[in-house]
């Protein structure tokens, strides 16, 4: 079975699907407006397609795009699981379409649902209080690190460093820097995990927090987590849990029980809200009782006969202009309510089963284990990026490539629980076929996709980021 993408071209034209501006641009003059001329623009030039043309344009574009419903999508670290259709309907209920400036008393349904979701996420992560405000995982990290900062300042204990393992997500480093911290990068031990002795050497009285993903980006559980927590806590630092890999552990272990003080949840990963071509997601943050006073403003609590917003005593303030990505939170609520304890635990069981089965079926070496919901294979001596391009020709989306760097020519693979044995076998067949191909074939891949290999160097050297930029070339 091959996944061939539609190629829509104008004959003799070097375009696949013309831009909207190439099809139907129109310039209108702004005149006789209800505003004085000096407050208005002169004209506006934008596409003006009729609705049938619009429908056809975007339908064609969608046919040149690969989503979870097109086939396996084992993009490591991203948890591209199936997004249940019904959650879309829940998020679009008319009763949910309320304005953020309404008085609390008139949005009791929204507050009740948020309160319930806060509670569910707290139980799942083993945390005492949860805010739903951060609109993405990285925003959750920022929230969590600002909370850690507020905690230290509250104790008159200014600290300047955040410790992060070298295998961590790039967002961790960027978040720490954004919050004004110096980053201390911790080299991984030989087994791919945090080396507690190296950690001891790295932490001190300047350590505000350790940011850790568990299982880590190699899929490995940090077995020394208790000792790690002690080392950080003994130095007066806090332990931050990056929730990107929580889909490995549902019902098996909880960050709160491991000693983490702050964590974020990636609901678009663990709780199946759609990734939307890059977002929106949501990044709720859980904290211990001690840190609840620093949560973002406002927070939902139960009140006499209902629910209300309040400002936590030492709140860090806000991380979203309103209340976060509300429709995404509705989908999260729907997913968690649908699955319950048994379904969530089974999701992790099948995610871990699938990763282990797939790794068993492929010819590439997997240097580190035992892994959980994802594994990092080495494409070496092949180029991982080339191998990935060739996998596109075999009808599947490839893994994340060349990262983490601890594995040479990394193929970071996370099949999720959504793949059947049959589709894992197809995926394994794609890995195997690519494994046996020569470098020349890989370098010229892909050839069966909507576009051939795209020149990245040209894109960056000659940035053309709008149709206006393309027009000005000709």
């Amino acid at each position: 079975m091959k996944y061939d993408q539609a190629r829509w071209t104008d004959d003799g034209d070097e375009r696949y699907e013309p831009l909207l501006s190439e099809k139907a641009n129109r310039e209108v003059e702004v005149e006789d407006s209800p505003l004085p001329d000096d407050l208005t623009r002169d004209s506006l030039e934008l596409p003006d397609p009729a609705e049938p043309e619009l429908a056809r344009h975007y339908t064609r574009l969608s046919q040149m795009n690969y989503g979870v419903e097109n086939g396996p999508f084992p993009l490591g670290s991203c948890t591209m699981k199936y997004n249940p259709s019904f959650t879309e309907d829940v998020s679009r209920r008319a009763e949910a379409a309320v304005h953020p400036d309404r008085p609390d008393s008139t949005v009791q349904g929204t507050l009740a649902l948020c309160h319930r979701l806060q509670d569910y996420l707290g139980r799942i992560g083993g945390m005492d209080a949860v805010t739903l405000q951060p609109p993405a995982g990285a925003a959750g990290e920022f929230t969590g690190i600002q909370i850690a900062k507020a905690y230290h300042q509250h104790n008159d204990d200014e600290r300047s460093e955040v410790v992060i393992p070298d295998s961590a997500h790039g967002t961790n480093f960027a978040t720490a820097a954004m919050a004004g911290y110096d980053v201390v990068e911790l080299p991984s031990g030989d087994d791919g995990r945090v080396d507690p002795e190296a950690l001891e050497a790295a932490v001190g009285e300047e350590t505000a927090a350790l940011m850790l993903t568990n299982p880590n980006t190699l899929g490995l559980f940090e077995r020394d987590i208790e000792r790690i927590a002690d080392v950080v806590h003994d130095a007066g630092g806090l332990l931050y849990y990056d929730g990107a890999n929580l889909n490995a552990l549902l019902g098996r272990a909880r960050p709160g029980d491991m000693g983490f003080d702050v964590m974020h949840y990636n609901v678009h990963k663990t709780f199946a809200t759609p990734h939307g071509g890059g977002g929106p997601g949501a990044g709720p943050v859980g904290v211990t009782d001690e840190l609840a006073q620093f949560l973002p403003d406002p927070h939902v609590q139960s009140s006499k006969g209902g629910y209300e917003y309040y400002t936590p005593d030492h709140s860090i303030g806000k991380v979203h202009g309103f209340y976060g990505n509300w429709p995404v939170l509705l989908k999260t609520f729907a997913y968690v309510t649908r699955l319950g304890d048994a379904g969530l635990a089974d999701a992790s069981a099948k995610a871990v089963l699938n990763a282990n089965y797939l790794a068993e079926q492929i010819p590439y070496e997997v240097p580190f284990g035992p892994f959980h919901h994802e594994f990092v294979a080495s494409a070496s001596p092949q180029d991982a990026a080339d191998a990935a391009k060739r996998m596109l020709d075999h009808g599947v989306h490839p893994p994340t490539t060349k990262w983490p760097e601890i594995v040479d020519e990394a193929l970071m693979t996370e099949p999720t629980e959504a793949e059947s044995k049959r589709s894992l076998d197809q995926l394994a067949a794609a890995f195997s076929a690519v494994h046996d191909e020569d470098d020349e074939t890989l370098a010229s891949a892909p050839e069966r996709t909507a576009a051939g290999r795209i020149d990245q160097v040209e894109a960056a050297r000659n940035p053309r980021l709008s149709w206006q930029a393309l027009d000005s070339e000709t």
């Binding site: 070097e14 375009r15 501006s21 209800p34 505003l35 623009r41 506006l44 934008l46 596409p47 429908a55 975007y58 574009l61 969608s62 040149m64 795009n65 989503g67 993009l75 699981k81 199936y82 009763e95 949910a96 304005h99 953020p100 008393s105 009791q108 349904g109 929204t110 649902l113 993405a136 997500h169 790039g170 967002t171 720490a176 954004m178 911290y181 980053v183 491991m258 990734h275 939307g276 303030g317 806000k318 202009g321 309103f322 976060g324 509300w326 609520f333 309510t337 649908r338 319950g340 304890d341 089965y357 068993e360 391009k389 629980e417 793949e419 909507a450 020149d455 940035p463 980021l465 930029a469």
Partner: protein, 447 residues
């Protein structure tokens, strides 16, 4: 009810049959899936969450049961979150699973559709602002403003740590900005307003060489169309500071082009097209000058060529981003609001340029006319500020504003209390049919 629907023992979205699971375990060489978890006993979780599983129908019913506790109000609310009519075709097309269930375009050869849609979105913002570079989304208007403040620290030739913002500013927007300003140690200060407009003379007085960025909005949070933006641009020019302008795509379809008043960055909520009322769910617009290209936060889609020499699109200049540059990245943003940008572009294209201008003009005339009607109501004066309004305006109430808000809620309408005797009223084409009854309700409660 089928076994799959109740799913007491497993995820309904994991396709494995017991026989397949057994075969897979056998291939791996373990007896039980639990053997695959390498979790030390000391931290293993052996309790339960206490969350019951539900069928799909039951889950929907439960969500709706909770949501029905929201009062059914006609909302005359705005202040940064606006309700414009979103056509069905936007819903239908954006829900196509190829769009909705895809992710960041790390493999552009199988993501040409989304990349082109984002490229088109960027292009529309370039036309609306007159500035050269739009990214393909921040989370919302407030976080986009925060990112603009950090941008000022990267592009400025002289150092400065003051961020000047209008006295009339949504609290939430300022609070987010304060958090973004915390890391780089910037200080956020207000400059005064004069009759709902930036008091440019006072602004000029407070501005000095320590100013890194001046933020102004048009329309303002109170709905007033700014009339002296070019003067704000002159103030920032005088002090080598960034001029950040807040607006939205509907307003920009009619108002003077940000590039023409000297704006360096344009931020705001672009989801005024494409989303409608969604409890503040938005789309951070971020557009800036080409010279700041390499300091822009977030994803950028660029045009290139594929191996056959055909035009193709790809994420570009990724060396600015966290997954490459780590702690030296321009922002920590990864997951963004791409799908909302897709909807915004669809909605803008559906309206077309004339539709956009017409909609924007309607925002001016509706606010003007509703204010005039309310001004005839005993106990209420509207609008409080002179000048032109866009979608919304502030009115003075003889009664305490809170009482007016509560009494109106009891009659099925929502407005916002700004101050002890100020309320704010927003109207769009969505509330048009309700305006007459609303004015009658106000007349009942305002006297």
């Amino acid at each position: 009810m089928s076994e799959r629907d109740v799913s007491p023992t497993g995820s309904p979205y994991a396709p494995h049959t017991p026989a397949e699971t057994a075969a897979m375990l056998d291939a791996i060489g373990v007896d039980d899936v639990e053997a695959l978890f390498d979790v030390p006993d000391a931290v293993a979780f052996d309790g339960d969450f206490g969350i019951d599983a539900h069928g799909e129908r039951e889950t929907r019913r439960e969500a709706v049961r909770l949501l029905r506790r929201n009062d059914d109000l006609t909302e005359f609310l705005g202040r940064g979150h606006y309700d414009h009519y979103v056509p069905s075709v936007v819903d239908d097309l954006s829900k196509r699973s190829e769009f909705l269930t895809s992710y960041t375009q790390y493999q552009p050869e199988v993501a040409q559709g989304f990349l082109q849609a984002l490229f088109e979105y960027q292009s529309m913002l370039v036309e609306l602002t007159g500035l050269g570079v739009a990214n393909c989304s921040m989370y919302d208007a407030a976080t986009a403003l925060g990112e603009a403040a950090t941008l000022s620290q990267r592009v400025r030739s002289v150092s400065g740590d003051r961020i000047l913002v209008p006295e009339h500013l949504r609290d939430g927007k300022r609070a987010v900005l304060e958090n973004y300003a915390d890391g780089p140690d910037l200080s956020v200060e207000s400059y005064p307003m004069a009759d709902g407009q930036a008091d440019v003379d006072a602004l000029a007085e407070t501005a000095d060489e320590d100013v890194a960025m001046v933020y102004a909005e048009t329309p303002s949070v109170r709905g007033v169309v700014a009339e002296r933006l070019a003067d704000v641009g002159d103030v920032t020019d005088d002090h080598d500071a960034l001029f950040c302008l807040g607006s939205d795509p509907v307003a920009l379809s009619l108002l003077e082009r940000p590039a023409d008043v000297g704006a360096d960055v344009v931020v705001g909520d672009a989801a005024s097209l494409g989303i409608g009322t969604a409890y503040g769910f938005g789309l951070g617009m971020f557009v800036t000058r080409e010279e700041y290209l390499r300091q822009v936060p977030g994803r950028l889609v660029g045009a290139s060529d594929d191996a056959d020499g055909r035009r193709a699109y790809t994420l570009t200049l990724q060396t600015r981003e966290q997954h490459i540059r780590k702690e030296r990245a321009t922002s920590n943003i990864c997951t963004n609001q791409a799908w909302v940008a897709l909807r915004t572009a669809m909605h803008a294209a559906w309206l077309g340029p004339q539709g956009l201008v017409d909609l924007a003009e309607e925002c001016v005339t509706r606010a003007r006319d509703l204010a005039a009607e309310l001004d005839d109501v005993v106990g209420l004066q509207a609008p409080v500020h002179d000048g032109h309004h866009f979608r919304e305006f502030v009115a003075h109430t003889d009664q305490p504003a809170r009482a007016v808000v509560e009494d109106l809620a009891a009659r099925g309408y929502a407005v916002h209390a700004v101050d002890e005797h100020l309320i704010q009223v927003c109207t769009t084409e969505v509330t048009a049919a309700e305006e007459e009854a609303f004015v009658e309700a106000v007349a009942e409660v305002a006297a």
